[in-house]
């Protein structure tokens, strides 16, 4: 399953890219693959929340369909 991953703020800074592609089928698998590709993400990902196709999804076992977009959102700091 090909998933487009969009990285924001501290996650983008840690990875050094704002977008990447991952082959994996569950949210947990995607995150493992991201850490393998970008080791500095290991510090940030445990603090993040996730959107799959613009809907909140924080269950690591959730399956992600082919062609989906995953947004990696570090802790908010608005205001």
């Amino acid at each position: 399953m090909a998933v487009t991953v969009r990285l924001f703020a501290a996650a983008r800074s840690a990875a050094g890219v704002s977008e990447t592609n991952v082959e994996a089928s569950s949210l947990g698998d995607i995150l493992q693959q991201l850490e393998a590709d970008f080791p500095k993400l290991a510090e940030v990902l445990p603090k993040c929340s996730y959107l799959v196709n613009e809907t909140a999804c924080n269950d690591k076992a959730a399956l992600v369909s082919d062609g989906s977009t995953l947004d990696v959102l570090p802790p908010f700091a608005g205001g």
Partner: protein
């Protein structure tokens, strides 16, 4: 109800004009301004980054507050991009018939924006170090 996530400058003057009403006896405003210090460290510059969903989420938060409190008009804006020290990052204005509702609604609006809006803050300190706030 005026709601905006924008890279343009925002101000209480601009937003409070949008909540004026001859039936509303109370107007409460909040401005969250960029400070030159954070936890005792001197801040040199600062930038906010907004997720594409930020506008829609801010609209939802504003609607929740308007439903919950007896308010007349409400306006809220969050700026992103680089912001100079002393300028506003978040402005919220609420008018209501009575001051209790105006204070409660404005205060809870600001709390909920801070909790819910997908916006991030990047600070560069005077010593050259930098951080993503809440993610250090």
């Amino acid at each position: 109800m005026h709601v905006s996530v924008t890279t343009d400058p925002i101000s209480v003057a601009q937003l409070s004009a949008l909540v004026q009403s001859q039936v509303a006896g109370a107007v409460v405003t909040f401005s969250g301004d960029v400070r030159d210090n954070d936890h005792g460290r001197s801040v040199a510059s600062l930038e906010y980054e907004a997720h594409p969903s930020a506008q829609g989420i801010l609209e939802n938060v504003a609607a929740q507050i308007a439903d919950k409190f007896d308010v007349e008009l409400l306006a809220v804006a969050h700026r992103h991009g680089p912001i100079a020290i002393g300028e506003s990052a978040l402005v919220a204005c609420v008018s209501a018939k009575h001051r209790g509702a105006a204070f409660a609604a404005c205060s809870e609006l600001v709390d909920e924006v801070k909790n819910q809006i997908p916006i991030w803050k990047h600070q560069v300190f005077a010593d050259g170090t930098e951080e993503w706030v809440n993610c250090a």
